[in-house]
């Protein structure tokens, strides 16, 4: 009887200890994400029935982004300030001048989107009711350095009249927004998730998908009828760690 009583007391004390040590404080989020990316370059050519991006590259670019969020408000959901850096590139063979024949020179478009955003995550369902879905929205400013390479250099080209020569590089400024849904993976193994928190301070691990858009046209009024349109709408998939 004494042994049983001791075991009961021991279990009771262990359970009590587990309750005393709750989750660690959370204030940050790290996202790593990938997705296909097609800038809307061809949309500016619809009137003249040209598709320079599609006819040159054919398939989407691959965009990779890393985002860091700092939570400044936690009550009904969380609100964060976020900074993200991405990179996308697409390469193909340059064409021989005046023809559609492929040459041995490579040409490529490179983009380096940098964003500063506010992020709201409706994590009440996950935090209060253990329903592992977290919808969220993002909005902010975006800066997009871009450049076009031919061979090892940034390409210099003129218009069809041989005039207005310029190098294929620049910077775009605009807005960005996104809406997504995160799936909290903690329910797959709650003990491992708890250990991840106590050992490394990672509160939650998420898989997510988001629809994102960048709009640069507002800040970059065209100087003629066919601007280089790098607006985009795309879907990204990724992994996020909240800590």
């Amino acid at each position: 009887v004494k042994t049983v009583a001791c075991l009961v007391l021991l279990l009771a004390s262990t359970a009590g200890a587990g309750e005393r040590f709750g989750p660690s404080p959370r204030s940050m989020m790290l996202e790593i994400k990938l997705g296909p990316y097609v800038p809307e370059i061809d949309s500016a050519f619809q009137g003249v029935m040209l598709t320079p991006y599609a006819s040159t590259f054919g398939t989407p670019m691959l965009l990779g982004e890393v985002e860091f969020d700092y939570q400044i408000f936690q009550n009904f959901g969380s609100l964060s300030a976020a900074f993200s850096v991405g990179y996308a590139e697409k390469f193909t063979k340059a064409r021989e001048a005046g023809t559609t024949l492929s040459s041995d020179n490579a040409t490529g478009l490179r983009l380096l989107p940098v964003k500063l955003m506010a992020v709201y995550r409706f994590d009440v369902l996950n935090e209060k009711f253990s329903i592992p879905v977290v919808p969220y929205v993002k909005a902010g400013a975006a800066v997009l350095p871009w450049w076009v390479a031919k061979g090892a250099d940034i390409e210099f080209a003129t218009d069809s009249a041989g005039l207005n020569g310029s190098r294929g590089q620049g910077v775009k400024y605009g807005f960005t927004g996104a809406a997504g849904l995160s799936l909290c993976l903690d329910f797959l193994d709650r003990r491992m998730a708890h250990d991840f928190d106590t050992g490394l301070g990672v509160n939650h691990t998420y898989l997510f998908a988001e629809f994102a858009t960048e709009q640069f046209s507002l800040f970059n009024a065209a100087t003629n009828t066919l601007p280089l349109d790098l607006d985009s709408k795309h879907v990204l998939f990724g992994l996020a760690l909240e800590f």
């Binding site: 204030s27 370059i41 500016a44 050519f45 003249v48 040209l50 320079p52 006819s55 040159t56 590259f57 939570q71 400044i72 408000f73 936690q74 009550n75 300030a81 193909t92 340059a94 064409r95 021989e96 001048a97 005046g98 040459s103 041995d104 020179n105 040409t107 490529g108 500063l116 955003m117 506010a118 902010g140 400013a141 800066v143 076009v148 390479a149 031919k150 061979g151 390409e155 080209a157 003129t158 218009d159 069809s160 207005n164 310029s166 294929g168 620049g170 775009k172 400024y173 605009g174 807005f175 800040f219 970059n220 009024a221 065209a222 100087t223 003629n224 009828t225 066919l226 601007p227 280089l228």
Partner: protein
Amino acid sequence: VLAASVAQADIFKIGRTSDVSSDLYAFGVNDCGTSVPSLTWSYTKVSGQVCSIKFWVTPGNCGNEITTATDFDLGAGQISTTSSVSTGTLTINSSALKGFTADAGCGTSGIEVSHRVCGVAETNFSICGSNNAKVSALPNFKINYDAKPPIQPSISAIANEDNAVKVSYTTADDTAQVRAEATPAAGGATITATASNASTTAGVNNTSGFVKLTGLQNATVYNVVVIAIDAAGNESAPSVAFQGKPTLTEGFWAVLKKGGTTEPTTGCSTAPSLAVFVGLMLILRRRSFT
């Protein structure tokens, strides 16, 4: 046994003074009679003492002792009494090497003669005497007289680029460099470019790589050859000539420009959006964490 155990831990090296990690000096016909680039030796003692250090050059294998009849004696090394590391330099004149014969001396074309620079240190854990252990310098530094040109290389492909051609080649293993030459088929000045063969992909019996010839005229036909050069400076016969024709190419930017795209040179800064963002953050920051 104790002396041998000490010797196994010691480090004895000979290398080029300008590149101590190098264990080879190759020279050709034009270098006969000149000095081999200065060599540096070093002996790092772990424990015990170094009794003596001797050096010599042999056309065969080093062994532990100099063979007077065939080897060239470089004398003894100075052992440091204040440091565990002894160092010194060795000066060798190519004319003193004994691997050459009367019929095939230094300056003879089409032959290769190898020598090794040997060093042996005698060490002892206690008192130097008859039971000294012998430590050889490793790896043996090699001095190769190489008057054989590399095997003729071959061009595997030529890619025509904008004001340039990229020449892909295959050549023999002992090739240190490859030089490509382009001469206008209609006559004119030859343009050359040289590439190190060190970065090429080694095959079983050959290596491959590429050399890029730039500064060429578009729409001009060039006869292109490559020449392999070994470490001793011997040049192979030129490869069979291939023809290349640099071609004006249009990248994505040219495609856009021809289509009428003009990137705006002015535009609003990102300041308005940043101002909105920062203002929003400041308002929300006033609220505390829960």
